[in-house]
Symmetry: C2
């Protein structure tokens, strides 16, 4: 019996649940005749507006509500913004995850034993198509800063979709070989309905320099370095990690790694055969490397974004951290970009390192980094190769999406769509059309063991607490009569120094008592009412005395 | 009777209390034979590490402790990072403030009536020296982005110090005329002991483009604009404000200003004669400008740093704000730099504006801004003109200071000093020497009516509250016996949704009771001990249930 497809489900659809209004948190739904697959499940990182939050994952209500349609999850590559939400969301998505061996390795490292027993992972080989429901899926190798980057073709009866994943068209990569341009061109000739391409670097003209060009620059910089060499980078930039390891070894240095995520990535690269075996004899614990003559030592470490708990932050304080120190005339290279939002902290880190008299090199003043994302010319090349009927730019903030749409227009692509998270785009049959703008989507906050909704008031309360501090005011009254038995008592956090400013507490208490007598003649028969009187009195009093209305938690106890 | 000078006070000294380990919060002490003057009293701005703080001012303990030495405060120019701390600190410094008319005007706008009655302001004319104790003081006109920028020469029996203030050597300024290069050269020929120069843009090669070059670029951009024209900029960039006002009027637009600080600056510029009178008839309330045909309307507004309460932030939300809206194809120009720390929020603002289909231009993609601070070549020119014996770079982070020291060395300056806040540098007689590294200094936080010390635990408490939320736990016991009469009661903020997750509160309460019975058999005879038991139980229980240890305020009441 063939399944009856609901009319509104007939056709080919895409719904981004993340990744088209931010850089990061990529998650895209594709649907064909009522069956659904997901490409990627990424995270993004909290900032000062989300205090206490560990990571941010996409809101997957739409998937949960349509779980019967879901057939599989495809992972393009092993970066946090594409794979990082899996440990939090996989339980809601009880279908196989299709991954390459390196992504599998990374995912195994991130998940608990029991979750691994329950998540079915299917290993994928680029160039070998397979079927998931109405989709013929094929991974195509592309260069990126991590091994086994992939774009994905989804072939359906309505036409083919190309989802580029994160890519650049590096003709001279150091790890994992070149992009499969031949296969891309073939696919272009076979016909492409929609090209969903990365928009991250749409405003960067030209092409990304190759990793090999960067290698030449780093080779010169390394050889000019007479003392210890520190390189900080994204742990996820596995290609760079292998690149700088090779360079340091070539120049007669021993290499040590600091930072758990970075050490893990080395482990995974070894497991999957990307880490050249001949390097192994030159790798030592960082502590041992630090004991070598300075011109024989290279230490690669986490903390390029000035994360306060990373190895570099500890060393920059001038401390000996795990047997390693930064000394005058050591060189510290930031082989990374500055993620927006982190600039100020990174500059502060530069200042600390200068204070230790280290030489500091970063992407602002030296050729020490290349992006993992293709520039404008590489995006153009994608349009040239795939000649899509519809351009559906993905992966970027709104400004990048519209920049990519403008490029598609320039390149003669007939139809372009500006997507937002939560738009349901019908690609076929017929003209492309946004059929729904209100698919539930947004950000969920991983907060300890909890996952908070975007609109939950809890984060707002935390921000209020951090701006204004908190007061508790406690009163014990006689049940029935409402006569005050003890109190009010007052305690504060984050407002004043209670020892030095106890006079203020006295004033506030006097105000509270005055209000209680004014409003209810000192007889608190109604707990709620009494608490409200105290709350208002405390806030008003502090506003007058300190210029701030603190968060106030009143408590009336009847005995 | 000549005053006896203590031996350790004999000579010429400088002590930066702010401004050499940050960009902003400039405040420098100069001392000669036991008499002291201060150059500038600036603020810097709070960030996510200082929640709830209004502004940050220098720690002036050293000045208070040596108040008998203090003879005067010199203000180089009317920018927040040089003048902004005056309203908070002037009472501690009961001496005359020497200011130019424009700075006086700005200061009058910032201070209350009563404080103005008590602060003695002395108007200064550049080129007309005057004496303060052992200092002969002369202001010298320099170009900057605000009218009446000045450097200051302090001539003493030990030699002359040049404090450059903020400057560029713009040969084509729009407002206020050129720098007094002739006088600078004369001073150079008269001999300079120490040059204390701005280091902000030491890593920018070449010279800052002139305001007139920028004007040409903006003229073209404005004339390409067919709809409404919005320009956002620093209110303090008075030269730019006058520049864009003139351009818009020239092209037949009427001009409206939004934002209180910006409107104030226009007022001050008018009062001091910097605002061309012929512009006045073209200035209308923003609401009236918004009603004109779109190609006749120009609106200049605050919010270039994405400040959430500024006019631009309100408009970018798509709202009608005070009668003004941003419509599709309107142009929004950010004629400003992105201050480190603000990039992420500024990018988010760009995305909102793109969402309104506005054209957005900023310093990343168009020539719409020039810095107020000289580039490297202009710093070189200072060394050439003044030929100082000692280079004492100021105004910058540590990395900028050492960059400027390196340049001084290149330029053949014999002696260079790397200063830090709180260093006391003896300039003469004899070799320059840092004689004290521990002068009290640092950041004080203006927090409502309060000023908090840097090391006060209050901000730490606020950060904890924002990360972990707060719990109050209240217990009423019988005095003497310690028998529990009521409670414990629990309330939370910033942790859980109490309505949806009351089960968690039940679990925590059960844990607290269990601990009370375990630790003191349920008899709380000692308030402190009981509170400690409850605090620990709550924190442990939440850690287990939610993965977080909240700030906990216990309260045991005896009845």
């Amino acid at each position: 019996m063939t399944k009856k497809i609901k009319k509104e489900d007939q056709g080919l659809f895409t719904i981004p649940l993340g990744g088209v209004e931010e850089i990061g948190m990529n998650m895209t739904v594709y649907e064909c005749d009522g069956e659904m697959i997901i490409v990627d499940a990424g995270i993004t990182f909290p900032d000062e507006t989300t205090p206490g939050v560990d990571v941010i994952v996409p809101d997957t209500r739409y998937i949960r509500d349509n779980i019967h349609k879901l057939k599989g999850i495809l992972i393009t590559h092993a970066h946090e913004d594409h794979i990082g939400a899996m440990p939090y969301l996989w339980e809601e998505m009880p279908v196989p995850a299709y991954v390459t061996p390196f992504a599998k390795c990374v995912l195994e490292g991130k998940m608990t034993r029991s979750s691994l027993d329950n998540l079915k992972m299917v290993e994928v080989t680029p160039g070998k198509p397979f079927n998931i429901g109405p989709f013929e899926v094929e991974f195509v190798k592309v260069t990126h800063s991590v091994p086994e980057g992939n774009m994905i073709r989804l072939k359906t009866k309505y036409g083919s979709i190309i989802n580029t994943g994160d890519y650049k068209l590096d003709e001279d990569p150091i790890v994992g070989g070149e992009s499969d341009i031949k296969r891309m061109k073939e696919m272009g000739n076979e016909g492409v309905l929609a090209l969903c391409s990365d928009s991250t670097n749409i405003y960067s003209p030209g092409r990304v320099p190759t990793e090999t060009e960067l290698q030449k620059s780093l080779d010169t910089i390394f050889s000019d370095c007479e003392n210890r060499l520190f390189v900080t980078l994204f742990a996820s930039n596995v290609e760079r990690l292998i690149n700088v390891t090779g360079l340091a070894i070539k120049q007669g240095r021993k290499v040590g790694y600091m930072g758990r995520t970075l050490q893990n990535m080395v482990k995974y690269a070894r497991q999957c055969g990307f880490f050249p075996e001949e390097y192994n004899e030159h790798i030592l614990p960082a502590e041992a490397v630090a004991k070598l003559p300075k011109n024989k030592a290279a230490i690669f470490l986490t903390g390029a974004q000035a994360q306060p708990n990373a190895a570099l932050a500890k060393l920059a304080n001038g401390d000996n951290f795990k047997g390693v120190e930064i000394s005058p005339d050591d060189t510290v290279i930031f082989s990374s970009r500055k993620i927006p939002g982190n600039e100020k902290n990174i500059f502060a880190l530069f200042n600390k390192l200068h204070g230790l008299k280290a030489n500091v090199l970063h992407d602002g003043d030296a050729f020490v980094h290349v992006s993992g994302h293709g520039y404008r010319e590489e995006t153009e090349e994608m349009y040239d190769m795939f000649k899509p009927e519809i351009a559906v730019p993905m992966y970027g903030e709104h400004q990048h999406i519209i920049g990519n749409v403008a490029l598609a227009k320039e390149k003669g692509v007939k139809k372009q769509v500006v997507l937002r998270n939560g738009y349901r785009l019908k690609l076929a049959p017929g003209e492309p059309e946004i059929v729904d703008k209100f698919i539930p989507c947004g950000r969920n906050y991983v907060d300890g063991h909890n996952i908070l909704d975007e609109d939950r008031f809890i984060l707002k309360e935390r921000r209020q607490l951090s701006y204004d501090g908190v007061v508790t005011i406690t009163l014990v009254v006689e049940e029935g009569s409402g006569i005050i038995v003890e109190g009010p008592f007052i305690k504060t956090k984050g407002i004043i120094d209670e020892d030095l400013q106890s006079d203020i507490l006295e004033i506030v208490l006097k105000d509270v008592k005055k209000e209680l007598y004014k409003k209810c003649e000192g007889l608190v028969t109604d707990v709620k009412e009494g608490e409200e009187i105290m709350r208002n009195a405390v806030r008003r009093s502090f506003k007058r005395e300190r210029g701030r209305r603190p968060v106030t938690i009143p408590c009336v106890v009847q005995v």
